[in-house]
């Protein structure tokens, strides 16, 4: 009996140690697998973010080039052609006519220089790095207002702080996309851009007084552009909400916590185009 009891005792103890050792080994293996899975997910997020950022940069470049080509064709070329015509007329005219034509030409050349200077300022993705989001939007607002297509109001509240180059670039791209949509589809007369800088919250609100659209907009009718805005906002840790109904314009709100850090956003970005 004592022998049996002793055997039972030793078996129980051994079984206990075996059990607890197995549990700890199982936990270590499980933990390691979870670590690998997390690492893979993070790499995927990082890769998606890089791709999306690059896409946004290329889109901004395309838009800038389109704008530059349109400006050169519609504005600078016309002004310079007029100068050429003026100078040709001055060649055959009397001295006072010559002087008038030269003065007119000088003014037109000055206007062309100004236009070219404005054009050089519209290389926005570089501007964001140098002068920040607010100033870049200010320049864009000035440009649009000057064209007279739509009246853009910019409103900023709170103490301005930098949100980081990549975040600002994505936010700027969202603003540009919203403005493009308004110009193309909304037939709006006013476009309002609001930037609210609070210590733990940044809000970008983009509103127009155009046609608006139903909430369940199909993808082919600009719905993919709206989804793009939402997914891009999510990539930088922001939340984009789009509110619109027919006849009531559109309001896009992007809320971002500037203190929330995302490992794949911060720091030097290998794909960045500026600097």
């Amino acid at each position: 009996m004592p022998d049996n009891s002793l055997r039972l005792l030793i078996s129980l103890t051994a079984a206990f140690f075996f059990g607890i050792t197995c549990f700890i080994i199982y936990f270590v293996v499980l933990y390691r697998n979870k670590q690998l899975k997390n690492q893979q997910e993070q790499e995927q997020q990082q890769s998606a973010f890089r791709q999306e950022l690059l896409k946004a940069q290329i889109e901004m470049q395309e838009q800038t080039l389109l704008y530059i080509s349109r400006e050169i064709h519609d504005n600078v070329t016309q002004v310079l052609s007029f100068v050429k015509l003026n100078l040709a007329l001055a060649a055959d005219g009397s001295a006072p006519v010559k002087q008038t034509k030269i003065n007119e030409s000088r003014e037109l050349v000055a206007q062309a220089i100004n236009d070219l200077r404005d054009l050089s300022k519209s290389l926005s993705f570089e501007h964001i790095t140098r002068i920040g989001l607010l100033k870049t939007i200010e320049i864009e607002t000035g440009r649009i207002n000057k064209s007279g297509i739509i009246k853009v109001n910019l409103w900023a509240e709170g103490e301005v702080y930098p949100l980081g180059e990549q975040r600002e670039l994505v936010l700027y791209r969202i603003m540009q996309e919203a403005l493009n949509n308004t110009l193309k589809h909304a037939r709006a007369r006013h476009f309002k851009i609001s930037l609210q800088y609070q210590p733990e919250l940044f809000n970008l609100t983009l509103e127009d007084d155009g046609n608006g659209f139903p909430a369940n907009l199909p993808d082919k009718n600009n719905g993919s552009g709206l989804k793009n805005m939402e997914s891009r906002a999510a990539l930088i840790g922001a939340v984009a909400t789009i509110d619109s109904s027919p006849g009531k314009g559109c309001c896009i709100k992007v809320a971002l916590n500037p203190l929330e850090q995302r490992l794949y956003i911060d720091g030097y970005h290998p794909d960045r185009l500026s600097r």
Binding site: P2, S5, L6, L9, L12, T13, F16, I20, F23, I24, F27, V28, L30, Y31, R32, K34, Q35, N38, Q39
Partner: protein, 159 residues
């Protein structure tokens, strides 16, 4: 023994309170400290008098709670894994130590009861005593390893 039991419980529970991230579990830990302390007073005065009877009414539930906390912390570690190798995490060694100690105590209690009821020879009691020492050594070695592991590195990675 009564005092050792309650101070030990408060100390280990507070350690777990700081280790847990889940707010509900944190609250539960605090509530358990209050309940166990109240029960300790009742037990020491009415049920198992101070300095006279071994406080098994307190020891048993506290060991169960240690094991539960330890398993919950393992679960939480799996939910929020750190980048650092688990072997280099002091929490892992500490938690393993507590789990090993708390579950071993059940075995000790069970075996003690078995030996008592069957009135087995003193050899068995010696075996149990050696086993108890062994558990204590292992537990303290695991706690020592957890203290020697680089905690600073874990904190910065976590942040």
């Amino acid at each position: 023994m009564h005092l050792e039991c309650i101070t030990g419980y408060v100390f280990y529970s507070l350690t777990y309170y700081y280790l847990f991230k889940n707010k509900t579990i944190k609250k539960t830990v605090i509530i358990s400290i209050v309940i166990i302390t109240v029960f300790f007073v009742i037990n020491a005065v009415f049920l198992q008098p101070f300095r006279k009877v071994f406080p098994s009414n307190i020891t048993t539930p506290t060991q169960v709670l240690y094991a539960v906390f330890s398993l919950l912390l393992f679960k939480e570690m799996l939910l929020y894994p750190l980048k650092i190798n688990i072997i280099r995490q002091s929490v892992f060694w500490y938690n393993s130590g507590v789990l090993f100690y708390s579950t071993s105590l059940f075995l000790i209690f069970g075996l003690g009861n078995y030996i008592g009821e069957h009135k087995l020879s003193p050899n068995f009691i010696s075996f149990l005593a050696y086993f108890w020492y062994f558990i204590l050594y292992v537990f303290h070695i695991l706690i020592g390893v957890s203290l020697l592991t680089n905690n600073k590195e874990i904190t910065t990675t976590d942040a």
